[in-house]
């Protein structure tokens, strides 16, 4: 039987799905509070920066195409330094999954399940996500393939349906005495695109073809365009002052859509259901990254990764449940930005540079 490989198109679906996550719902308030009416420009610029970092991840993965990111860390950095450099990644992914789960559960409680305890939602979601990770990366890729069009179509539909209420004057004046804020907004905007690192974990499972880079770029550009459009449309519908007060601006946006068919008068309920699916796949992909990183970090064998999935659950549940409320969770997500910046702007470039040198030496030998 032929060895299974991920296709180039699956790289795209997994990259986009990894980026779509809780940020879809919560990023607008943060960005608008910071950059005001030009938040969408910062979002676009942050996206471009993310694409640049994503390409570094891609290049690093191609240097050792049979290894995933944690393995490359250990190969390039050695047993000890490699592990020290890998530690922030392990910590970041674990915290990120925990926080995502908490924010997700809290939002769900608010919109769909007002009487269900938070822990029940968190644990249920965690178990289902763990089951997906317990299977293999190809199963996760197949689920992503199914969910991808659903998330894409629903986000485009929200943007298009909101256009009828949009007021272009809300995003004006563009870049008027706000350039410095726009530039400073790039950093928090970057936090919305943390999923770009998925390539480091899936490249070694792909069919090696020239198409991979093309589809990876499509996978990066799609969320950048959609996030920018969503930020812009949210400002155009509500205005900057209102958006600053809306924690879940997109859910409020869907509430405001006046759909011509009466049977869909409660559009936000359907959006919430789609959002569950979108967050789920993002959590699964981060969960996979976290499990894979931890497995390599602890020096466990490949076959033991399955057990690591279940071992992970209490840790993730603890992170998700020990936080006081969702505002704290959102605050912590923003704090993790610094860790992500260290990883993306310091650790990855350093490892890439060392990897290039080491690779050259290996090839010479």
């Amino acid at each position: 039987m032929k060895t299974e490989r991920l296709s180039a198109v699956q790289v795209m679906t997994m990259t986009t799905s990894s980026i779509f996550g809780i940020e879809i719902m919560i990023s607008q308030q943060r960005m608008v509070s910071f950059v005001k009416q030009d938040a969408w420009i910062s979002m676009a610029l942050g996206g471009i920066a993310a694409i640049g970092i994503g390409l570094v991840f891609y290049y690093l993965s191609t240097l050792y195409s049979d290894k995933d990111l944690p393995q490359i860390f250990l190969h390039v950095g050695g047993k000890y330094i490699g592990r020290i450099l890998l530690l922030p990644i392990v910590v970041y992914y674990i915290i990120y999954v925990g926080l995502s789960l908490r924010i997700f559960a809290q939002t769900l409680k608010m919109f769909l399940l007002d009487k269900t305890p938070i822990y029940a939602i968190v644990i249920f979601m965690l178990l289902v996500a763990a089951y997906a990770v317990y299977k293999d990366i190809y199963t996760i890729a197949n689920i992503t393939d199914i969910i991808y069009p659903l998330s894409l179509i629903s986000l485009i539909a929200i943007i298009l349906l909101s256009l009828q209420q949009a007021e272009i004057s809300y995003i004006k004046p563009i870049l008027f005495e706000n350039t410095s804020n726009v530039v400073r907004g790039i950093i928090p905007a970057l936090n919305n695109f943390t999923g770009f690192g998925i390539i480091g974990y899936i490249f070694c499972h792909t069919q090696k073809s020239k198409e991979t880079l093309k589809w990876y770029l499509v996978g990066l550009v799609t969320p950048v365009v959609l996030y920018t459009a969503l930020t812009a449309i949210t400002i155009m519908v509500f205005g900057t002052k209102d958006v600053e007060t809306l924690i879940y601006a997109i859910l409020t946006l869907t509430k405001s859509i006046e759909f011509p068919a009466t049977s869909l008068e409660r559009l936000e309920s359907f959006t919430a259901v789609i959002w569950i699916v979108v967050v789920f796949i993002s959590v699964v992909l981060f969960f996979y990254k976290s499990t894979r990183s931890l497995t390599v970090f602890l020096g466990l064998k490949e076959k033991h990764m399955k057990y690591m999935v279940w071992v992970h659950i209490p840790l993730l549940a603890f992170i998700a449940l020990c936080i006081e409320n969702e505002l704290k969770a959102i605050e912590y997500v923003q704090t993790t930005l610094y860790l992500q910046l260290i990883i993306s702007l310091v650790i990855i470039p350093v490892i890439t540079a060392v990897a290039i040198l080491k690779r050259r030496r290996e090839l010479k030998k």
Partner: protein
């Protein structure tokens, strides 16, 4: 030597109570004495009453010969006219004690096939398959002559997979006739049929059918390896074989495609799939299988492609509804009535006034009743089955509503669920939806729409993880094989389907060459 055989059999019988198979007879060859041979053969077959033997002189010579066969599976006319008669009458007079075996084989026996045999395993297996065995005094080689009797129905119409248009022919219990049905549809010398006897005791003739040059070698070899290495007493149906060779035997979703239609099997073979048929089984299994394949019906290909596509899409909707409609009703009425438009929510609430049960128990009661009715209508004779349907319909419908045990809306929900499940072309897949319906209802009553969504994701994960002979169960929807989407949820026109399914990795990818629509192909 005979004593040796006896010892071996006795030893085996002591160990297991009886001889397990004919493998152990491999090392024992025929004796020159025909009486020894005949008595040994009868002994091996436990002196069963239908094991017949007859001794006679060959032609004008004094050389004795004996024939052994089982009359219940052999054609006695063939034995008489094509074996015994030519040997007694037509062999030239001779005083020699040695006979010309080659002459007998080539010029006297007019049976379909004649082959030499010298070991008991081969002889016993042939006799049990309906062939006749001849041994001649002074020779340690015998002849096996085909004399099988094919008894049973020779024609059937599809009952599980009926179609409005197209062929109305179905497989029967006889392997030879089934192979004939395939052969008459595929006149390609590359059509390959590999036969082997499977099972320790039943020794079923199992044939693996594929078209060499189309079917992927890896898949063919994997099917052969798994089927021919089965070490079981013996399958009584090809379905049993299928259950034993799939990767996940516990999966409630069918990982083999069962068909009774030769046209469907032939169409699958031309796609590059592999079929397994068995003597005595009126079905064939097709491998590998994917979920979209199970949603296809023969009628899809006899109708206009637009009509077929719409019908096929409605089937997917039916699959969705039959799985989660009761759960969705529970979730919406119990947890999330806000999802419904106000008027509809009020209308549903009004119909539930006076119903003593919560929505979950109401739905559970109805789903269980529906399952019982379905089961009863299958098990009972057809005439009584109709009565069950009427009684069931009245009880579930009118009486239950009038007694305020269930609400009218619940009757509608259950009816739609039942009708939806009947539209699923594959019976096993329909059963799987019945099984998952109740867990979905439990998730709905516990977590509402969130529970249903998570249940769907759990099921999706499970389905995405399933494989059938290296092919992912959700192929070609996931992983994306856009070229193959022409025959999944929609059915593209025939002229557009120029290539075979990519996910089956066929050796020959091109199905047809169409240069211009509606014009005959020049090549």
């Amino acid at each position: 030597m005979i004593n040796n055989i006896k010892k071996i059999i006795d030893k085996k019988n002591k160990k297991t109570g009886y001889a397990e198979n004919t493998e152990h007879l491999k090392k024992f060859v025929l004796s020159e004495d025909i009486n020894d041979n005949v008595s040994r053969l009868k002994e091996i077959m436990n002196n069963s009453f239908d094991v017949k033997s007859r001794e006679f002189n060959v032609g004008g010579s004094n050389v004795r010969a004996a024939i052994v066969y089982i009359d219940s599976v052999s054609n006695e006319d063939i034995i008489m006219d094509h074996i015994i008669k030519p040997l007694i009458i037509s062999y030239p007079a001779t005083t020699s004690k040695k006979l010309d075996i080659q002459y007998i084989k080539d010029s006297l026996l007019t049976g379909q096939s004649v082959k030499e045999a010298e070991t008991f395993d081969e002889i016993v297996l042939s006799i049990m398959s309906g062939n006749s065995f001849i041994c001649i005094q002074g020779y340690t080689k015998g002849l096996i002559i085909e004399s099988k009797e094919y008894r049973g129905k020779t024609f059937a119409t599809p009952t599980m997979e009926p179609s409005v248009k197209g062929p109305q022919e179905a497989f029967v219990e006889m392997l030879k006739i089934n192979i004939g049905m395939i052969r008459k549809r595929i006149r390609d010398p590359n059509l390959t049929l590999d036969m082997s006897y499977v099972g320790r005791r039943i020794k079923s003739e199992i044939v693996i059918v594929y078209i060499k040059g189309i079917a992927n070698d890896d898949i063919v070899n994997e099917v052969k390896r798994k089927v021919f290495s089965l070490d079981i007493d013996g399958p009584t149906s090809v379905v049993q074989v299928g259950k034993l060779i799939v990767e996940k035997p516990n999966s409630i979703f069918p990982l083999i495609q069962l068909t009774e239609r030769p046209d469907k099997l032939v169409s699958s073979l031309t796609e590059g799939r592999v079929a397994v048929i068995m003597n005595g089984s009126p079905d064939a299994i097709i491998l590998p299988v994917t979920l979209p394949m199970l949603m296809q019906s023969a009628d899809d290909y006899f109708e206009n492609w637009i009509v077929s596509s719409v019908i096929r899409m409605s089937r997917y909707l039916a699959l969705f509804l039959s799985t989660i409609l009761p759960a969705l009703y529970i979730a919406v009425t119990t947890f999330n009535p806000g999802m419904l438009p106000t008027n509809l929510a009020l209308s549903i609430a009004a119909t539930r006034v006076g119903v003593p049960f919560p929505a979950f128990f109401e739905a559970l009661l109805m789903v269980i009743t529906l399952d019982l009715l379905q089961e009863a209508s299958i098990r009972l004779p057809k005439i009584v089955g109709q009565t069950v349907s009427i009684v069931g319909g009245l009880v579930i419908g009118q009486a239950a509503v009038q007694a305020a045990v269930v609400s009218p809306i619940m009757v509608i929900i259950i009816s739609v669920t039942a009708v939806s499940s009947y539209t699923i072309p594959n019976y096993s897949l329909g059963l799987a939806t019945r099984i998952v319906r109740i867990p979905f209802m439990l998730l709905a009553v516990t977590f509402g729409n969130f529970g249903i969504t998570m249940g769907m994701l759990l099921m999706l994960t499970y389905l995405a993880s399933l494989k059938s002979f290296g092919v992912r169960y959700l192929s070609p929807i996931s992983p994306y094989r856009i070229r193959d989407w022409k025959d999944t949820i929609i059915r593209a026109p025939s002229w557009a389907m120029t290539k075979r399914h990519e996910f089956l990795s066929p050796e020959d990818t091109r199905r047809q060459i169409i240069k211009k629509r509606g014009e005959p192909n020049e090549n």
